[in-house]
């Protein structure tokens, strides 16, 4: 299954960052307008983004100051990433006074719909470059070409 990984270096300790991941009131300071989250295994994850994108899932693993793992998807009609169909892992890696935050989105529908050649591979490859701080350059491949046309 395809995986999308993004990392960001934050000038703060895990102790400072952690509440933003597990406290509903702090969560909406960075993601979502409404966060109905119960961060413990089996607990609900529901974050409404931009007032219209309803993401939903369930917590799988919660290790204080280290990581949260939850299933993830969108309830919108026609969105191929359905609730429960993919998994997010957000992990904190302290480096001195700073913390590397890594977000891995697993279980994306690559092998279900591409031919193991283009399409998602192309885009996820670009995301990996951009996510590591590099510049993936202009995306000059049209969606149709990227899909193997």
């Amino acid at each position: 299954m395809a995986e999308l990984v993004r990392e960001i270096m934050i000038d703060a300790t895990p102790e400072t960052i952690w509440p933003f991941l597990v406290d509903p009131e702090k969560h909406v300071e960075w993601l979502g307008t409404v966060a109905d989250i119960d961060p413990r295994p089996g607990g609900v994850y529901r974050v409404l983004v931009q007032g219209r994108h309803q993401s939903a899932g369930e917590y799988v693993e919660v290790v204080p100051l280290e990581k949260v793992v939850f299933t993830f998807g969108w309830e919108e009609e026609g969105n191929p990433i359905r609730p429960g169909s993919s998994t997010i892992e957000i992990s904190l890696h302290p480096e001195g006074d700073k913390t590397l935050v890594r977000l891995a989105h697993r279980g994306l529908p690559e092998d279900a719909v591409s031919d193991h050649t283009h399409g998602w591979d192309h885009y996820l490859g670009r995301l990996a470059v951009a996510g590591s701080g590099g510049d993936a350059g202009p995306d000059d491949v049209s969606p149709r070409e990227a899909a193997g046309a």
């Binding site: 999308l4 993004r6 960001i8 270096m9 934050i10 000038d11 703060a12 300790t13 400072t16 960052i17 933003f20 702090k26 300071e29 960075w30 993601l31 983004v49 026609g78 969105n79 191929p80 990433i81 359905r82 169909s85 935050v101 977000l103 989105h105 994306l108 529908p109 279900a112 719909v113 591409s114 031919d115 399409g119 998602w120 885009y123 995301l127 951009a130 996510g131 969606p143 149709r144 990227a146 899909a147 193997g148 046309a149």
Partner: protein, 109 residues
């Protein structure tokens, strides 16, 4: 159970989707590719894929032409990219602001 997930759970439908991923094909050509499957069964698979918005259908006279709905994937890619990139950048901003307040309280920095 959701339509898209259900549609992709069937290996034959994934095979059909790959077939029309880069080319538009009439239903008859798709059916001919799968010699071991009846035409009504192929029609049923195509109907499920269409309902799940995984393929688009176009009529040309009496023929029905099918093609993978690549736009769905391109839109999803753009959405995901923005979703996590901007999300993590906002997390950095609010966490660093909180850290600054903490350090000032402690008299560090």
């Amino acid at each position: 159970m959701d339509a898209a997930l259900k549609a992709l759970a069937e290996p034959r439908r994934r095979a059909i989707l790959r077939l029309v991923w880069s080319q538009e094909l009439p239903a008859t050509d798709i059916a001919d590719t799968f010699a071991d499957v009846s035409r009504p069964a192929i029609s049923q698979h195509l109907a499920v894929l269409k309902d799940a918005k995984l393929v688009t259908e176009r009529r040309d006279g009496t023929r029905r032409l099918y093609k993978a709905n690549v736009d769905t994937m391109a839109q999803l890619r753009a959405f995901l990219d923005d979703y996590w990139t901007s999300g993590l950048e906002r997390l950095r901003d609010v966490a660093e602001a909180a850290e600054t307040r903490k350090r000032q309280t402690k008299g560090r920095k």
